[in-house]
Structure formats: structure tokens, C-alpha cells
């Protein structure tokens, strides 16, 4: 039974990753190339733990704050890989963040400017408190009966999401200027497809480790590998 569940989970995970990675590119970018980025970090993972004193049936008894998640082969998860110089119209696609188990899921959401759906599937009070400068920052209560709120993020920026009711909750919304981006998985990998051919700077951003970049050349119909190492 466990094996079956394990396999199912693995399939679900792979499908999930594939779905994330297969973000549809802009129209007319056919014949573009693919960037396969691997982001690594040589340092140790940073994980903080906190005893939970409320809503334990939803939040669990211990909150785990994963600030730096390092997987096998030093792969760094939750990094946003992007190609700021690539030209392509943003495709209207709503991004979604769920507040589930007193966590923002996913931890990092990347989107093009537009609307973000904020779900509350916990059946308890959360409040969406954003820290931003380019976009108006908000602090809106989302009680249990308010399952969905939609907010606009119209300017490219990395926006911090917090909840004051559950101080450990932390998430990020990466509002990107163009549709060429990906968020690294547990192995530190992200795939950006349909990038118009050309020479670009690929940028990797991480919430605590900052930014690193690398030059690449994207060729039509080909996959280009790029390895970026984050430093403290």
C-alpha cells in the first residue's frame, strides 16, 4: 500500500513539476529555444522551527520555516530563474496562491503582471499582508468564509507575503516583466521554453540569497543548459 501511495505521489509530483515547467510561452514564439537552468547553493539549508500555539488542527503543532531549501547535488529550490532581456508579450494567465496548512502554497509564485487568486482552504482566519514598493501593499483579512480573493499586481517586483495571525507564514510573489521564467524544483531545476533565439543574461533570484546571473545563447529548437551558483 505504501509503495502504491509513494508511486502515486511521485507521479503527481512529476506531473506537477512538468505542469509548472510547461508554462505556455507567448504566441508567435514558436521556433524558440529552451533554457534548462540548474541553480545550486553550496551552503547549508536554513530551517527554523516554531511551536504552534493555535489552530493546531489546521497548522500542526510545529511550524517549519524553510528559508533556504537545498536538495540533492546542492540544488536550490524556490529560486526564480528569468530572462529579463527576452521580448515576448505576457499571456493573460491567473496565478494562484493557496493558504493551506498555514503555509503559502507554493512558497514562491511567479507570474506576469495581472491578477493573483488568493485561496484560503484552511477554514480559519488568515490575513494577506504584502510588502511591496512598486505595487500598492495590502493588508486584507481573509476570514474562513472568504475562500477566494483576487488581487492585482501590475508592476514587476518581488512581493513578500505574510500573515500576521500566523507569523511564520511566508511566501513570495515574483511579478515578472515577461513570460520567460521558472521556479526551481526540489532539485534546483527550472525549464524556460519558447525563448526567442538570441544572447541573454539569465537571472536567478532567491529570497534570502539575492541575485546571480549568467550569459547564455539560445538557439532555435535547441536546449541550452545553464548552471547558476548562488552565494551568500
Amino acid at each position: 500500500m505504501r509503495k502504491v501511495i509513494g508511486t502515486l505521489l511521485a507521479i503527481a509530483l512529476v506531473t506537477g513539476v512538468a505542469l509548472v515547467a510547461n508554462r505556455p510561452g507567448p504566441a508567435g514564439a514558436q521556433g524558440g529555444g529552451t533554457i534548462e537552468a540548474t541553480v545550486t547553493f553550496a551552503g547549508a539549508p536554513v530551517v527554523e522551527k516554531l511551536k504552534v500555539n493555535k489552530d493546531t488542527e489546521k497548522c500542526g503543532t510545529e511550524a517549519v520555516i524553510e528559508k533556504v531549501v537545498v536538495g540533492p547535488n546542492k540544488g536550490l529550490a524556490n529560486a526564480v530563474v528569468s530572462v529579463p532581456g527576452a521580448k515576448g508579450a505576457a499571456k493573460a494567465m491567473k496565478a494562484t496562491v493557496d493558504q493551506h496548512g498555514c503555509k503559502f502554497v507554493p512558497h514562491v509564485t511567479a507570474m506576469t503582471p495581472g491578477e493573483l487568486d488568493l485561496k484560503n482552504s484552511d477554514d480559519i482566519l488568515h490575513n494577506i499582508h504584502t510588502y511591496s514598493t512598486a505595487n500598492p501593499s495590502i493588508n486584507k483579512a481573509q476570514p474562513k468564509f472568504k475562500k477566494l480573493m483576487t488581487e492585482k499586481f501590475e508592476k514587476p517586483e518581488f512581493v513578500k507575503l505574510t500573515c500576521d495571525v500566523h507569523s511564520w507564514m511566508l511566501g513570495w510573489v515574483a511579478v515578472m516583466p515577461n513570460p520567460f521564467f521558472g521556479v526551481t524544483d526540489a532539485g534546483g531545476n527550472a525549464k524556460i521554453e519558447n525563448v526567442p533565439p538570441g544572447k541573454y543574461t539569465v537571472e536567478a533570484w532567491h529570497e534570502t540569497l539575492g541575485k546571480q546571473s549568467k550569459e547564455v545563447e539560445v538557439k532555435a529548437g535547441q536546449s541550452t543548459k545553464v548552471a547558476i551558483e548562488m552565494k551568500k
Binding site: 480559519i124 490575513n127 493588508n139 500576521d164
Partner: protein, 482 residues
């Protein structure tokens, strides 16, 4: 507007808020006033880092962010009138005083100057906040407000009964990273932005910027729930604390109950006493937790009893490993009532004049002590006092009893109709208070009511009848003479 009459008419017709009409201030003239009056806390650069800032809790406003807690707008930009009002009225429960002493013009100039610290934030125009149609208070409205209070989980921060003791309390931080306590909804005279109905509804609807308090205008089931919530919050406590100047001890003939939750105590009128932080002796307490104690006191022919009620958001006992202190409270009296106006030093006496303390500490119970200063406290042997405490929803209730008469020189005897000095001290261990880090009062007076006798029903009518008789006599004599 062509004439002032028209302007007034327009204001009435448009239902303009009760804010002063905005005047254009002169930022340059405002700077001159700022440098004299505001710089000490808010700093030269307007960043809230003036020399006094580190001692203040909450911290002074950082004007460079253009973020203001109290506003009556739907967006983040306050009206000039919002800023003017805070300068004029100050902020209850903070170090921001009222500057109504300054001429109007100076205050408008200050508004212009503090806006200049974040000029780009004021490029956006303020947006009028539309409150839902007002719902007056009624039993039904309060009931609905309570339902909504529970549904939107106000208690997470503000506590089940509104005493700021919610489970998220310790985690709350403002946008500058400073810890920030939730408002105690039972003490609305401490509300930063005022305690009127409209002000409370406005805070609920638009939130308090820079703090964890979010906007609720779109997060209640129906828009008018904002008013039901307001009516419920108003029902949680009195409008003002009605501070007492004298503690009256009521004479009773029955036995006095030990249980602090007994109905007996609810029937007595509380004497509300304000407490301040102890800032005379190191370590000082600049941010006292306990700011009010409600005293109910009674005596019978054998004993005197004090029923004390005070809010404390955290129940704590002494735990040296966690650097926690016990919650506590004490009543201070001179060891013997003096006939003259002289009293021992109010801060727990001094080397020459001791004080008697009747105190309670969580975990230790009621004890008696003699103090010759806040660090020289010696327990009195042979306990004569007893007591019982109860803690629920961020509030302590305590009964302390003692024999009325004492034969020892270290303990006072309480005599009816004699003014007896009394002072109070309190510690919130969970807030790190212990030793000289306390809240306290100066000397107050306590007076035991004289036992009620039936004479008060007999003597006044006799006096009245005699007076009438004398008057009639005078009238008759005068008439006869005439």
C-alpha cells in the same frame, strides 16, 4: 465657493465628515515649529529616530514612509485633516500628546512639513472611504456583532473577551519589525484613533496601516456587519474609566466571600485607579503593562477585604530559566495611620519610614511584608492575610482579606471614618516586569464607611421638622409684631 454660507451649506448637504476644513500649510514655516516641538521624538530627518525614541513604546512615527495608522481614506494616503487631527488631539495610549496649544496655522504648517518627508507618497490623491449605511446599536445588532467577531476571529489577536490576550499576541510586529500589542477592546479610551462609533467603524473597515490590523470592509459577510461589530465592541467596556479619587470601603454585616467570581462582588461599584510605569529607580519601566486596577473593598466587624480586578494578557509564574517573573499586585499602607498629613515615601517607603504591603504573587498567594524601599522588602512572619485569585480571558480577579484590627506595630488597624493612605503596585511577569519594573500609583486615600445605623432615617426628619417649626414660629412672631 463664493460665500462662506454656501460653503457651510455644501458641507451640510454633502454630509462632509466632522473634520476641519483643510488649509494649505507652509512647509517652511512648519519646519520651524517641527524643529522646536517634534524633533525630539520624530527626529531631524522625520524617520522617527529622535533622541527620545528608544524609550518610547509605541515608537514615534517614521514620516519618511508616508504611512499613517489613522486615516479616514480608502487608500493609503491620509487627508490633510487626518494628520491635523492627530496633531491636535494626540494619540491616546501613546507618547503623542495633543498639540492643541499651538495655533491652528502652526498645525497646518506642520501637516505640510511632515508630508514633505514622503512627498512622492502624497502624489496620489486620498480616496474617500465609503462606510456602509450606519446601523444603530440594539441588542440584536450587538448579538450579530458578536457572531461576526467570532466568525472573522478577532479573538486571534484581541482575545475572546477583547482584552488583547489572543494567541497571536506575542507574534505581532509592525512593518518596522517592532513588537506591537493588539488593542484592548474593553478600554476604548486607549484607542489610538479615537473611540467614537464612526472612528471604530473606520478602523475596522480600512485597517490600521503599518500594523497587523487588516482591512475588513470586503471581509465581512455583509457590509453592515462593520456596524454590528462596532456596536459589539462598544458593548465590551465603558466609554471612560471614570477614575476614582477615593477608595470607599463598604460596611457589610454578612460574611465576606473568598471567591473572586462571587455575585457579591459584582454588586459593588468599582473604584478605578490608574497606574503608571515606575521611572524613578533603575531598572525603570517605560512601557507598563498594567494601567488600571478596579478596587472593590468591604469590611465587617472582623475583617477587611479587597477585591481587585486588572487586565494582564499573559498568566505567568516565576520561571528563572525562561526569565519570567510572577504576576503580582500589592496594596501599600503606612504601618500605622498618622494623624497629620505626613506619609512614608510613596515608592515603598525609605530607610526611616517603612510601609506595610498586602500583596499577592501568582504561585505564592497572599503575603504581608514590610518595605523600606523597593528593594528592601521583608516578609512579616505569622500570616494573618489570606486570599484567592482567578484568571480568565486576560483578566485577574483577586480577593485579599485581613483582620480589621492588628496588635502588631508593623500592620495597620483599619478604623471607620478615618482617612487611610493607600497606594498600589502591579507586575505583569509575562511582560518581563519584576522588582522595580512595575506599575504604581502615588498615595490615594481609603475610607471605611461608617456602619449604617437606623439613625440616618430618624435624625434628618427630626431636624427638618424642628427647622420648619422654628420657621413657622418666626413667621408668626413677625406677623404679630406687624
Amino acid at each position: 465657493m463664493r460665500s462662506p454660507v454656501l460653503a457651510v451649506l455644501a458641507a451640510v448637504v454633502l454630509g462632509a465628515p466632522a473634520l476641519a476644513a483643510a488649509q494649505a500649510g507652509d512647509a517652511k514655516a512648519g519646519k520651524a515649529v517641527y524643529d522646536l516641538k517634534c524633533i525630539g521624538c520624530h527626529g531631524e530627518k522625520g524617520d522617527g529616530k529622535g533622541p527620545a525614541a528608544e524609550l518610547l513604546m509605541p515608537q514615534p512615527r517614521d514620516f519618511t514612509t508616508g504611512l499613517y495608522k489613522i486615516r479616514t481614506t480608502a487608500n493609503k494616503v491620509p487627508w490633510d485633516q487626518d494628520l491635523f487631527r492627530i496633531i491636535t488631539d494626540g494619540m491616546p495610549g501613546t507618547s503623542m500628546p495633543s498639540w492643541a496649544v499651538l495655533p491652528d496655522k502652526d498645525r497646518w504648517n506642520l501637516v505640510a512639513y511632515i508630508k514633505s518627508f514622503a512627498a512622492d507618497k502624497f502624489k496620489e490623491a486620498p480616496k474617500k472611504l465609503e462606510l456602509p449605511k450606519e446601523v444603530g446599536s440594539s441588542a440584536e445588532s450587538i448579538k450579530r456583532g458578536k457572531e461576526m467577531f467570532e466568525a472573522i476571529e478577532c479573538h486571534k489577536c484581541h482575545g475572546a473577551e477583547g482584552r488583547a490576550d489572543g494567541p497571536s499576541r506575542a507574534e505581532l510586529k509592525d512593518e518596522w519589525g517592532h513588537p506591537i500589542p493588539p488593542a484592548n477592546l474593553t478600554k476604548r479610551w486607549t484607542f489610538r484613533g479615537g473611540a467614537s462609533r464612526t472612528e471604530i467603524a473606520t478602523r475596522l473597515a480600512a485597517g490600521v496601516l503599518g500594523t497587523p490590523m487588516p482591512t475588513f470592509i470586503d471581509s465581512v459577510e455583509k457590509p453592515e456587519d462593520i456596524w454590528h461589530l462596532t456596536n459589539f465592541i462598544l458593548s465590551l467596556g465603558p466609554e471612560s474609566p471614570g477614575y476614582a479619587t477615593l477608595v470607599t470601603v463598604t460596611a457589610v454585616s454578612d460574611a465576606i466571600p473568598d471567591d473572586p467570581n462571587a455575585d457579591f462582588w459584582k454588586k459593588l461599584t468599582p473604584n478605578n485607579i490608574p497606574l503608571m510605569g515606575q521611572v524613578i529607580v533603575d531598572p525603570r519601566n517605560f512601557d507598563p503593562s498594567v494601567d488600571l486596577v478596579s478596587v472593590r473593598a468591604v469590611y465587617n466587624d472582623k475583617e477587611i477585604a479587597f477585591h481587585l480586578t486588572w487586565d494582564d494578557p499573559t498568566q505567568s509564574t516565576e520561571d528563572p530559566a525562561k526569565k519570567l517573573f510572577a504576576d503580582g499586585i500589592s496594596l501599600q499602607f503606612p504601618p500605622q495611620p498618622s494623624s497629620g498629613p505626613e506619609r512614608p515615601y510613596f515608592l515603598m517607603g525609605d530607610a526611616s519610614d517603612a510601609v506595610y504591603l498586602l500583596r499577592w504573587q501568582n504561585g505564592k498567594g497572599v503575603t504581608e511584608a514590610t518595605a523600606n524601599g523597593p528593594t528592601k522588602i521583608a516578609a512579616i512572619q505569622g500570616a494573618e492575610a489570606s486570599g484567592k485569585a482567578a484568571y480568565a480571558n486576560g483578566q485577574y480577579r483577586l480577593v485579599m482579606k485581613r483582620p480589621l484590627v492588628s496588635k502588631s506595630e508593623t500592620r495597620p488597624t483599619f478604623t471607620p471614618a478615618v482617612f487611610m493612605p493607600v497606594a498600589f503596585q502591579a507586575w505583569d511577569g509575562g511582560a518581563g516586569e519584576g522588582g522595580t519594573k512595575m506599575s504604581l500609583t502615588s498615595w490615594y486615600y481609603l475610607r471605611l464607611e461608617e456602619p449604617q445605623s437606623s439613625r440616618r432615617f430618624v435624625i434628618p426628619p427630626i431636624v427638618a421638622i424642628l427647622t420648619l417649626a422654628v420657621m413657622l414660629l418666626v413667621v408668626r412672631v413677625a406677623n404679630r409684631r406687624a
